[in-house]
């Protein structure tokens, strides 16, 4: 009995060793660049000294966290992050769904395709490029957006310098970048709907709006649920790239988010312990939301990642 098991193991090894070898690069790289940095979480509980490293720096317990709780900015930063991220998630779903439904009503396929192609372009440009463009077009002195609003008699607005407007500018420009991509996902969902459903509805005399209400939208619900659950993990991702490239001291109170806070405190002011504590808080909360999101996606949309 024992011998056969051993033989079995040998057989397995002979067949499988190459597969294990193939996985070595992945395992090594992830240990070095993902798992080893996870031990750096220790920094959050230390008065970190780079020369002493993760394991030997003096231990300070929870005092970094206590310090953060006392900072007057913490509440603001948390509020800004959640507000901006949540609005991006919500509008980032509603706008593409609406747009996909409207595009679906277009019969002229050339027109449909051209619109898709055009609205999809910003998605592929980096926030550096888009910020460069936005700083130009949103300028209060001679930006084209203010000139356009001027036609309707509006006073020039300093979009990137007004703390009340700034979060909304972030949300809208994020939708601008991403809604073409979202539209294509939902359109793909619409085209995969069983055409016989529509034929049956036509026989019953339903016009296209009724078809939309009773067939297209209900059939999209699973995809909508899937996208909603998977985007839960972004609840603390307010968009580091975008904010870092667009914010300035004038809008700090409403535009500062966890990621930019961590970056400034940690890498510009070298307060590693405090920045890591904030970062750890973000990682843990995100982890919780991503896990719940995947679980819900599995439960309600039968989604399995692997």
């Amino acid at each position: 009995m024992k011998k056969t098991k051993l033989n079995h193991f040998r057989m397995n090894f002979k067949k499988q060793w190459i597969l294990h070898v193939m996985l070595i690069p992945m395992v090594l790289l992830l240990i070095i660049f993902s798992y080893y940095p996870m031990t750096g979480i220790l920094i959050a509980f230390e008065k970190y000294n780079p020369t002493l490293g993760f394991f030997k720096s003096p231990w300070v317990g929870l005092s970094n966290f206590e310090y953060i709780l006392k900072l007057p900015n913490t509440k603001r930063v948390l509020y800004n992050t959640v507000y901006i991220a949540l609005m991006k998630i919500i509008l980032g779903m509603i706008v593409p769904i609406f747009f996909a439904l409207m595009l679906d009503l277009v019969k002229h396929s050339g027109f449909k395709r051209s619109i898709q192609t055009l609205i999809y372009i910003p998605y592929f440009l980096s926030w550096v490029v888009l910020s460069g463009i936005l700083i130009d077009v949103l300028s209060p002195s001679n930006g084209i957006v203010n000139e356009l609003l001027g036609v309707f008699g509006a006073e020039p607005i300093f979009f990137l310098g007004d703390e009340k407007l700034f979060p909304n500018v972030l949300i809208i420009t994020d939708v601008w970048k991403g809604f073409g991509y979202g539209t294509i996902i939902y359109l793909a969902g619409i085209t995969s709907i069983d055409p016989t459903l529509y034929e049956a509805a036509k026989m019953d005399g339903a016009n296209r709006f009724k078809q939309m209400r009773h067939i297209t939208i209900p059939c999209l619900v699973p995809i909508i649920i899937l996208m909603a659950t998977l985007s839960m993990g972004n609840i603390l991702n307010a968009g580091f790239d975008q904010v870092l490239n667009l914010y300035n001291p004038a809008v700090m109170t409403t535009g500062d988010i966890i990621d930019t806070f961590v970056y400034r405190i940690g890498l510009q002011n070298s307060q590693y312990g405090i920045a890591s504590a904030m970062g750890l808080f973000k990682s843990l909360v995100s982890f919780l939301f991503i896990s719940v999101g995947y679980w819900l996606a599995y439960k309600f949309a039968d989604y399995r990642i692997f």
Partner: protein, 303 residues
């Protein structure tokens, strides 16, 4: 009978009116979506005087390509461009190698590869939990990778999401293909190179495009890990000239000063540099569009 007929006619008319409104609405949104891009493109081809005066709308005024010429002769700009090209090539090679050699074994069942699920979870965990910015930075520093192009390539060498896409694609290939190859005495490497890879060209193309766009557009690691601006990749360099980064000098600056600072920089030159940085993406855009559609259906959204 008569009333029914006019009723239908009214619906038809209403439907036509809706169509017209819908077409106009969609076209208007698409136009507004592109307006900023077209506007800045027009600025980059205009004379600095007209651009600075804010006269340029959708078409260039005093059309010229001076800004592009000047940008392309700036040594810093050129070297950044080359670093970005190097980075994309190196990134594609490393990422694709890792993606393929990881996706193939993981596409096997736990029976065919003992420990398959452990490997898969080992990989998946890194996607949902990370040490955060500071520890990652420290590790790269400790490894002595600062200022090396490897710092831009190795930390993200295993793109977990792409591995999952390719793995799912491999999984749905018919089992008979590999079974019959095994009968003929083929090993795993032969099956992977001769059968799986040729069969998955569309998904490989999609992933290559993902990687190219990702590496070309990435700028933050360039800023983080390159201490000398001479080693900045293009997007990082662009960021350093577009965004006034040193906020300490601006703390307490009035709105007017901030506003002035954002307009004094040479508008046409900056615009030209923005478009050179965006050009490679716009050039491969037709392919992007074609393959991303396919990639979406194979990968993330399976419904």
């Amino acid at each position: 009978m008569k009333s029914k007929k006019t009723g239908r006619k009214r619906i038809k008319q209403g439907s036509i009116v809706f169509d017209i409104i819908n077409y106009i609405f969609l076209a208007a949104v698409a136009f507004l979506c592109l307006l900023p891009i077209v506007n800045v493109l027009a600025i980059s081809f205009s004379s600095s005087a007209k651009a600075a005066a804010g006269l340029v709308k959708l078409l260039p005024l005093d059309f010229n390509i001076q800004s592009y010429k000047y940008a392309l002769t700036k040594p810093q700009f050129l070297s950044s461009f080359l670093i970005s090209v190097q980075r994309v090539i190196l990134g594609v090679v490393v990422n694709m190698f890792c993606t393929i050699v990881t996706a193939y074994p993981l596409s096997k069942s736990a029976k065919e590869l003992s420990g398959r699920n452990i490997y898969a979870w080992f990989m998946f965990i890194t996607m949902i939990f990370s040490g955060g910015l500071i520890p990652q930075f420290m590790v790269v520093k400790q490894l002595g990778l600062m200022d090396s192009i490897w710092a831009l390539v190795l930390p993200g060498a295993v793109p977990v999401f792409n591995v999952i896409i390719l793995m799912n694609f491999f999984k749905q290939l018919p089992k008979e293909i590999s079974e019959s190859a095994v009968m003929d005495g083929a090993g795993h490497l032969t099956i992977l190179c001769r059968l799986y890879l040729p069969l998955s060209k569309p998904s490989l193309a999609t992933i290559v495009l993902f990687v190219v766009v990702g590496h070309w557009n990435e700028w933050f690691n360039g800023m983080l890990y390159m201490t000398s601006p001479l080693k900045y990749p293009l997007q990082t360099y662009l960021q350093s000239i577009i965004v006034i980064r040193d906020s300490s000098t601006l703390a307490g600056a009035s709105k007017e000063t901030l506003e002035m600072l954002s307009t004094v920089s040479d508008k046409t030159l900056t615009s030209a540099q923005i478009f050179i940085a965006a050009a490679p993406i716009l050039l491969i855009y037709p392919f992007l569009q074609k393959y991303f559609m396919k990639g979406l259906t194979i990968g993330s959204v399976k419904g």
